[in-house]
Amino acid sequence: MSIRSLMLLLLCVPTIALANVHEFKLSNGMRIIVKEDHRSPVVVSQVWYRAGSMDEVNGKTGVAHVLEHMMFKGTKTIKPGQFSRIIAAAGGRENAFTGTDYTGYYQQLEKSQLPLSIKMEADRMVNLKLTDEEFAKEVKVVMEERRWRTDDKPQGLINEQFNRAMFTAHPYGRPIVGWMNDLENMTAEDAREWYRTWYAPNNATLVVAGDVKAADVLKLAQQHFGPIKARPLPARKPQTEPPQLGLKRVVVKAPAKLPYIRMGYHVPALQDADKDWEPYALQILSGVLDGNASARLNQQLVRERQLAVEASAGYNMIRRGREAVFELDGTPSEGKSVNELEAALLEQVEQIKISGITPEELQRVKAQVIASDVYQRDSVFAQAMTIGTLETAGFSWRILPGYPAKLSAVTAEQVQAVAKKYLTPDNLTIATLDPQPIDPNAKPKGKPSDH
C-alpha cells in the first residue's frame, strides 16, 4: 500500500462522513439522525427501537419479534395490512427486522414520499391496535418462520444450541425467534405489554439517509413524532455473563450429511470507542484469519491441508449487551472428522499466540478496511443501517469517521496480545453437528397436536 494513497483516504473519509450527518433530539427524547446523500433521488427512513430479544424474560422469548410482525396489523386509523398497501402505492419497499439488540422498521422511497413514511411510523409508535384475532393468526406465521429458519435447518439448530451454551446468565443465550413452547403459549397481552413498555419516543431513533435536507427531516419529525409523550422506561440491568470456568461442549443431532463445528470465546465488546484498543485488535485478528480468500483459515485448512470444505472466523464488537464472542467455524472435508478440524482450528489460534502475525497480513487487513469504507458509501441503505446499529447499541455515529484510523493504529503485538489473553481453553465453547441419516418414514418431532 502506498503511503500516499492511504493518507489521502484517511484524511478525506472523516471529512465526507462528518459533513453530511446531522443529529437532533426532540423534546420527548427521540433522536433524529440524518445522513444527506444526494447521489440519487431516493430516501431510506428507519425507526430503531432499543428493544430486542435481550430485553425479553424467560417464558416470553420471541415477543420482541412477534410484536414486530404485529406492527403491520393496524392502528386506530389504519386497518390491518393497510400500512404495507399505502407504502406500496407510494412506490415504496418496506420491511422490519428484529435482533438481540433492537427492532427496526424501514421504508425505501422516492425522496418526495418521505412525509408519508414519517407520518405512518409516528402513528404506529403510539396508536397500534393489537387485537386477539390478528395476534392468533400472526403468531402462527411466526411459528412457521421458526420451523423454516431453525427447526428444519441443521445450521439453525446448532446456532441456537451454541448460543445457549455460550451464555449462562446473559440474555444473548436466548433465541431471537423464541422457543417454540414460548410461542405456543404467548398471548396478545404479552405483545401489548411489550409494546407499552418499549415503544416510546425516548426509546427510539429515527435514521434518514438519502436525497433530503436535514432541516426538512427535522421539521417532519417534530410535526409527527413531536406530540408523542415520553414514558419512563424500565431500568435495564447489566446481566453480565459470569466468568467461564472451563470448556463447554454441546452436540446437536439433525438430519444432514456433513458434520459441522462452531467454536466461540468470550471476548470484550466495545465499551469506550476512544479508549479501547482490544476490540479493534480482535477485529484485525478476525481479518487475518478470515478477511479474504487467502487469509489463514481458507488458505491453510481448506486449500493446503484440505481438512475443511469451509472454515471461517468472525467478531462483532458493536453490541448493546456489551458481551461479544470471537468465533471460529468449519465443515470438515469428506473423510475428516470434526475432531480433526477442531484440533486444526485450535492450532491456528495457537500459532497466532506463539508467533503473532506478519506485517503483510496486518497491512492487508487495513487496506480492506479502508476500501470497504469507500464501498459502503455506494448504498444509502447500508449507511443508514450502520448508523442505526451504532446508535441503538449506545454509541454515537460520530465514532464512524475515526473507525478506520482506530483499526489502522492496531499493531501486530496487540493482535497477538488479545489472542493470548482471550483465546484460552477454559474460555471456549464448542458445538458440533452430528449428522443423522434421513429416515423418510420418521414423523416430525413435536407435540402430537401438531400433526
Binding site: M1, L8, L9, R39, S40, P41, F72, S84, R85, A88, A89, G91, G92, N95, A96, F97, G99, T100, L109, E110, V139, V141, M143, E144, W148, D152, N159, F162, Y172, V177, P255, A256, K257, L258, G264, G291, A293, S294, Q299, V309, S312, A313, G314, E327, D329, S333, Q363, R364, V374, Y375, R377, S379, V380, D439, P440, A442, K443, P444, D450, H451
Partner: protein, 445 residues
C-alpha cells in the same frame, strides 16, 4: 465471516433476492442513466456509465457460458470452469490471486446461472489500486491455468456440497422442480453438476469449454464509476484483447411445455413441507413480458400486498413465505410459486395456492389492483438505480440480452401501458394450471 450470532429476523423472506442476478424489470425517465455503448476491436460489447461521485470503479464481464451449455454427461463443467478461472491464472496461484486483490482492498465475485457466466470486480479508482486489480482480473479472463491439484480439491468440495444438498428439503425441492419442469432441456441442468458427473470432469474439459464459450465476440463488458470515457475505452480494449476467438455461440433449444400435470411427493422428516409449483414462463425479450411482470406483482410478486400473501399468510397464518415469480431467460425461464408450511397443513395450503392461481387466471385482475401495482412499480423506479452496484447489473442485463439502450428510459411507459385485459390474456395463454409441475418435499405419508 461468521455473522450468524448477530443475525436479525426479517418480517419476510427476501424472495426477490433470487431475482437480483437475473434482475429484471425496471425503469423510467426521471432517474435516467446516461449509458455509453460501443464495441471493442475484438467485438466485445461495452456499456459504460461515467460517475465520479465516489473514488471507486465497478465492472463485470459476462459470457453466454451458463449451466445450459453443459452436456448431460459432463454436468457441472460450466460452473467449475468459471470458478476455476479465479483459482489460477497467468502463473498466479489461487493464493497469489486472492492476496494481490486483498492487498489493495479489491473485491472480486462471480455469478453463474443457466444463461450467463460473469466476473465482477470492485476496486478503488486510484491508479495503483486500479492497475493491480486489473492485472489480476485480466489474467483470470485471459490466461486461466486450470491447475490439476486445485481441480481435484475443488471437485471434492463441490461433491461434499452436493451430498449435503441432497439431504436438505429446500435444495431437494429446487432440484426436483427444475428437472420435472425442464426434462431434457438444458435449463434442467443443476449449476453444481451431479454426483455422477463431477468426478469425471477433467482440466481438458474446462480448457475446451473456456475456448468455446469465453470469446471476445459476444462478451459483455459493463463499467460504472470513477473513469473517463477515454480510460473506459482503453480498459475495455485491454479486457477484450486477450480473450479467445471462437464461433458465435448457438441459440439454446426452445423449451417445450409439459403435456400433462406432474406431481412429485418426496418424503422427508422435516417439520415443514416445501412446495414448489411452476410452468415454463417468459423470455427476456418477449411480447408478454410486461403484462406477465405486472400481473405477477399482483399475484405473488408484490411482497406483503400480493394475493398469495393475503390469502395464505395474512388471512390464515399458514406460512411465513409464499411467492410467485417469473425468471426471464434467453428461452422460457421458470414461472414458479413456492411456500413452506408444517406438514399437516401442506395439502390445505397447496389447494389454496392452486385456487388463488386458478382464480387469478380465470377472472383476471381488478382495475384497483392494477392501479396499485403500477403505482408501486413506477413510483419505485428510482430505487432500482440508487447505487452503482444496481446500475452495473442493469448494464450487464441490457448488454447480454440485447435490450434497447433506452430500456431503462422506456420501462415506466411500458408498465403504464399494461391493461387488465392484457394481463388476463397473457396469463391465460402462457400458464396452464392443469399442466403444471408440482414438487412437495416432506409431504405427509
Amino acid at each position: 465471516m461468521i455473522t450468524k450470532l448477530y443475525q436479525t429476523l426479517c418480517r419476510a423472506v427476501p424472495v426477490l433476492a433470487i431475482l437480483s442476478f437475473s434482475l429484471g424489470f425496471s425503469l423510467s425517465t426521471q432517474a435516467a442513466v446516461n449509458i455509453q455503448q460501443w464495441q471493442t476491436s475484438q467485438g466485445a460489447q461495452v456499456y459504460f456509465v461515467e460517475n465520479h461521485d465516489l473514488p471507486m470503479l465497478d465492472m463485470s464481464v459476462t459470457f453466454a457460458a451458463g449451466s445450459a451449455r453443459d452436456s448431460q454427461d459432463k454436468a457441472g463443467v460450466a460452473g467449475i470452469t468459471r470458478y476455476m478461472m479465479t483459482l489460477g491464472a497467468g502463473g498466479l496461484s489461487d493464493e497469489q490471486i486472492s492476496t494481490r486483490l486483498a492487498d489493495i482492498g479489491a473485491e472480486m465475485s462471480g455469478d453463474l446461472d443457466a444463461d450467463r457466466a460473469g466476473f465482477k470486480l470492485r476496486t478503488l479508482s486510484s491508479e495503483r489500486e486500479r492497475e493491480q486489480a486489473l492485472a489480476v482480473y485480466s489474467a483470470i479472463l485471459h490466461k486461466p491455468d486450470f491447475p490439476e491439484a486445485v481441480l481435484t480439491r475443488e471437485k471434492a468440495r463441490i461433491l461434499a456440497g452436493l451430498k449435503e444438498a441432497a439431504t436438505q428439503p429446500e435444495s431437494m425441492a429446487n432440484r426436483a422442480f427444475m428437472q420435472a419442469l425442464y426434462g431434457k432441456h438444458p435449463y434442467a441442468n443443476d449449476e453444481s453438476g451431479e454426483l455422477t458427473t463431477v468426478p469425471q470432469i477433467q482440466a481438458a474439459d474446462l480448457r475446451a469449454f473456456y475456448q468455446r464459450y469465453y470469446a471476445a465476440q459476444g462478451a459483455v463488458i459493463a463499467l460504472i464509476g470513477d473513469l473517463t470515457r477515454a480510460q473506459a475505452e482503453q480498459l475495455a480494449e485491454r479486457l477484450s484483447a486477450g480473450l479467445p476467438s471462437a464461433e458465435p455461440v448457438p441459440a439454446l433449444p426452445a423449451v417445450t411445455y409439459p403435456q400433462q400435470a406432474v406431481e412429485q411427493r418426496i418424503p422427508h422428516p422435516a417439520s415443514q413441507a416445501h412446495i414448489l409449483l411452476g410452468y415454463p414462463g417468459v423470455k427476456r425479450i418477449d411480447p408478454d413480458y410486461f403484462p406477465l411482470y405486472v400481473g405477477n406483482y399482483i399475484l405473488g410478486g408484490g411482497g406483503f400486498v400480493s394475493r398469495l400473501t393475503e390469502e395464505v399468510r395474512e388471512k390464515r397464518g399458514l406460512v411465513y413465505s409464499v411467492y410467485s415469480y417469473f425468471l426471464p431467460l434467453s428461452e422460457l425461464g421458470p414461472f414458479q410459486l413456492g411456500l413452506q408450511t408444517k406438514q399437516a397443513q401442506a395439502n390445505e395450503a397447496l389447494q389454496l395456492v392452486r385456487s388463488t392461481l386458478g382464480n387469478f387466471i380465470s377472472k383476471g385482475v381488478s382495475e384497483k389492483e392494477l392501479k396499485a401495482a403500477k403505482q408501486n412499480i413506477i413510483g419505485g423506479f428510482p430505487l432500482r438505480l440508487d447505487s452503482n452496484a444496481k446500475i452495473l447489473e442493469y448494464l450487464s442485463v441490457i448488454g447480454f440480452y440485447k435490450l434497447p439502450l433506452t430500456y431503462l428510459d422506456d420501462f415506466n411507459k411500458k408498465v403504464a401501458a399494461v391493461t387488465a385485459a392484457q394481463i388476463q390474456d397473457a396469463f391465460k395463454r402462457r400458464v396452464d394450471p392443469d399442466r403444471m409441475v408440482t414438487v412437495i418435499v416432506g409431504a405427509e405419508q
